[in-house]
C-alpha cells in the first residue's frame, strides 16, 4: 500500500518538474494572452468565405491525396516480399531474417522529415520528394507490421497446403495471405490516412498539394480563401476517417 502511494507521488512529482522545465524552455509568454484579439481578428477576416479559388484548391487537395496514395502503395508493394523475409516462419535463412529485420527497424527509426530532406537536393521541394519519403517510411513500417501478421498466421492451412507438395512460396501465398488479407488492407489504409496528414504538412513547407496552397493563402493575407482550404482539409480528414471505419467493418 505504502509502496504504491510512493510510486504515485513520485510520478506526479516527475510530471510537475517536466511541466516546469517545458514551460521555461518553450518561452511561453502568457503576458501576450491579452492580445488574443489578434487571433480573433484573424478569424473574423475569414468571413465571408472566398470560394473564387475553390477549383484550384480542390485540384491541390487531390494532389495531396495522390501523393499519400502513391507513397503508401509503393511502400506496400515493397513491404510485401520483405515481410516474408523478415518473418521467422517464412524466412529462408536466419541471416536473411535478421538482416531484413534490422534494416526495417533502422529505416523505420528515420523520421519522414529526414527522409524527405535527403531527397530535396535531388527532386527539389516537390511531390516526388514526399512520395519517396512516404514510400521508404511506409515500406519499413508495413514490412514490420506484415511480418508480425505472417508470424501470427494459423499454421493449419499452411500445413494443409504444404502437405500437397506445394512449394514454399505457394504455402505463403495460399496458406498465409488470405488469412491476413483483411489486416493487410486495414493497416495499409491506416498508413494511407497517416500519409495524407504527412502530405498536408509537407505541403505547408512547400512541397505541393493543399497544404502548400493553404500556407500560400496565409502568407498573402487571403484569409477568406484560406478558410476554404481549411474546410477542404477538414472534409478530407473526416471522409478518410469514415472510409477507414467503413471498410474495416466491411472486409473482415
Amino acid at each position: 500500500m505504502m509502496a504504491v502511494r510512493r510510486k504515485v507521488l513520485l510520478t506526479l512529482l516527475l510530471v510537475l518538474v517536466a511541466v516546469i522545465f517545458s514551460v521555461q524552455d518553450a518561452e511561453l509568454n502568457f503576458g501576450e494572452i491579452g492580445e488574443l484579439s489578434n487571433s480573433a481578428d484573424f478569424l473574423a477576416q475569414m468571413w465571408p468565405l472566398d470560394f473564387s479559388m475553390l477549383g484550384h484548391s480542390l485540384e491541390e487537395t487531390l494532389i495531396t491525396v495522390e501523393i499519400a496514395f502513391l507513397g503508401t502503395l509503393a511502400g506496400l508493394v515493397v513491404s510485401f516480399p520483405l515481410a516474408f523475409l523478415a518473418a521467422r516462419n517464412t524466412s529462408p535463412h536466419p541471416t536473411v531474417y535478421n538482416g531484413v529485420r534490422s534494416f526495417l527497424t533502422f529505416l523505420r527509426s528515420v523520421p519522414e522529415l529526414v527522409l524527405a530532406l535527403i531527397f530535396v537536393p535531388t527532386f527539389g521541394l516537390e511531390p516526388l520528394t514526399v512520395i519517396m519519403a512516404l514510400f521508404l517510411h511506409n515500406g519499413a513500417v508495413l514490412g514490420k507490421l506484415l511480418s508480425e501478421l505472417v508470424e501470427a498466421a494459423e499454421p493449419g492451412p499452411q500445413e494443409a497446403v504444404a502437405s500437397t507438395g506445394a512449394r514454399g512460396v505457394l504455402v505463403a501465398l495460399y496458406g498465409i495471405v488470405p488469412q491476413i488479407f483483411p489486416n493487410i488492407l486495414s493497416h495499409s489504409f491506416y498508413r494511407f490516412e497517416v500519409g495524407v496528414r504527412s502530405s498536408l504538412l509537407f505541403g505547408a513547407i512547400g512541397a505541393g498539394g493543399i497544404g502548400d496552397v493553404l500556407y500560400l493563402h496565409f502568407k498573402t493575407f487571403e484569409y477568406a480563401a484560406m478558410a476554404v482550404d481549411v474546410l477542404l482539409i477538414m472534409v478530407l480528414i473526416w471522409f478518410l476517417d469514415y472510409m477507414g471505419s467503413y471498410f474495416r467493418a466491411k472486409v473482415i
Binding site: 494443409a160 502437405s163 507438395g165 512449394r167
Partner: protein, 247 residues
C-alpha cells in the same frame, strides 16, 4: 510402401519421447487405423509420414526413398504422393471451395499459373468432378468458411482426390464432427479406399469406428506400439492394454 524404421521423436530437450522406437510397415492396399489415448503420439506418427514432423532418430521411408533425409524438391515430390486431411479441416477459409480443391494440383501446375490464380479449364473441371465425387459440387463457388464441418471435410477429401496420391493420411479426420456425420465421412473414406485403391493411414479416437473400417489396427501407448493386428483381435483386454486403466 510406407516404413517407419525405429522412429523416435522428442519435441524438446527434457520432454518425454512422443514416439519411442516405432517400427511399422504400411503395405499397399491397407486401411490402417492408429488407436491410442490423447497424447499417445498418434498425430506425431502420422505427421512424420510426410515430413511435417522430423523424427529425432530413425527413418521414415516411402517406397524405398527416405522421407527423413529428403530436402527441397525431393521432399515436395514425396509429399505430392501422400494426401492429408486434418481434424480441424484446415481449409483456406477466405477462398472458394473450388480453389481449395485445386490446391491438390499445386505441385504439378506451372508456378506462374498458381501465383496469378489462372487455372486451366480442365483443372477446374477436375475439381468439379472431385467435388461431385464427395457430393458437394453445388458448393463449388461458396467460401470455405461458410460450410459446415462435414462439408469442409468433404472439401478436404476432394482436394486429396484432386491430388491423386497413393496414400491418404488422416489426423483424427472425424473427431470434430457429430457422430452421424463422422460415420458418413468415414464411410466415404472407406469407399475411396476401395474404389480408388487408396492406401490409408488414419488415427481415430473411437474403437467402434476403427473396427468398422480398418483392415489393420495399430495401438500406441506413450509413444510405443503396443498392438499391431487385424481388427477382430481387438477385444476388451487389448483395448485396456492400448488405453491403459482409467485414471
Amino acid at each position: 510402401m510406407l516404413q517407419f524404421v525405429d522412429v523416435s521423436k522428442r519435441y524438446a530437450h527434457g520432454a518425454p519421447l512422443a514416439l519411442s522406437q516405432v517400427s511399422l510397415d504400411v503395405a499397399e492396399g491397407e486401411f490402417v487405423v492408429v488407436l491410442g489415448r490423447s497424447g499417445a503420439g498418434k498425430s506425431t506418427l502420422i505427421r512424420c509420414a510426410n515430413g511435417l514432423v522430423s523424427p529425432s532418430s530413425g527413418e521414415v521411408r516411402w517406397n524405398g526413398r527416405s522421407v527423413t533425409a529428403a530436402r527441397h524438391r525431393e521432399l515436395l515430390d514425396l509429399r505430392s504422393e501422400m494426401g492429408m486431411i486434418f481434424q480441424q479441416f484446415h481449409l483456406i477459409d477466405r477462398l472458394d471451395v473450388q480453389t481449395n480443391v485445386m490446391v491438390g494440383r499445386f505441385h504439378d501446375l506451372p508456378l506462374w499459373r498458381v501465383l496469378i490464380g489462372s487455372f486451366p479449364a480442365e483443372v477446374r473441371e477436375q475439381a468439379r468432378q472431385a467435388l461431385a465425387r464427395v457430393g458437394i459440387d453445388h458448393l463449388a463457388e461458396q467460401r470455405a468458411d461458410g460450410l459446415s464441418g462435414g462439408q469442409q471435410q468433404r472439401v478436404a477429401i476432394a482436394r486429396v482426390l484432386m491430388q491423386r496420391p497413393k496414400l491418404l493420411l488422416g489426423d483424427e479426420p472425424v473427431a470434430s464432427l457429430d457422430p452421424v456425420t463422422a460415420d458418413v465421412i468415414l464411410k466415404l473414406l472407406k469407399e475411396i479406399h476401395q474404389q480408388e485403391r487408396m492406401t490409408t493411414l488414419l488415427n481415430l479416437h473411437d474403437v467402434r469406428l476403427a473396427k468398422q473400417v480398418a483392415t489393420r489396427i495399430v495401438g500406441i501407448r506413450s509413444g510405443r506400439v503396443v498392438f499391431d493386428g487385424p481388427p477382430d483381435q481387438v477385444d476388451d483386454a487389448r483395448i485396456r492394454e492400448i488405453y491403459g486403466a482409467a485414471e
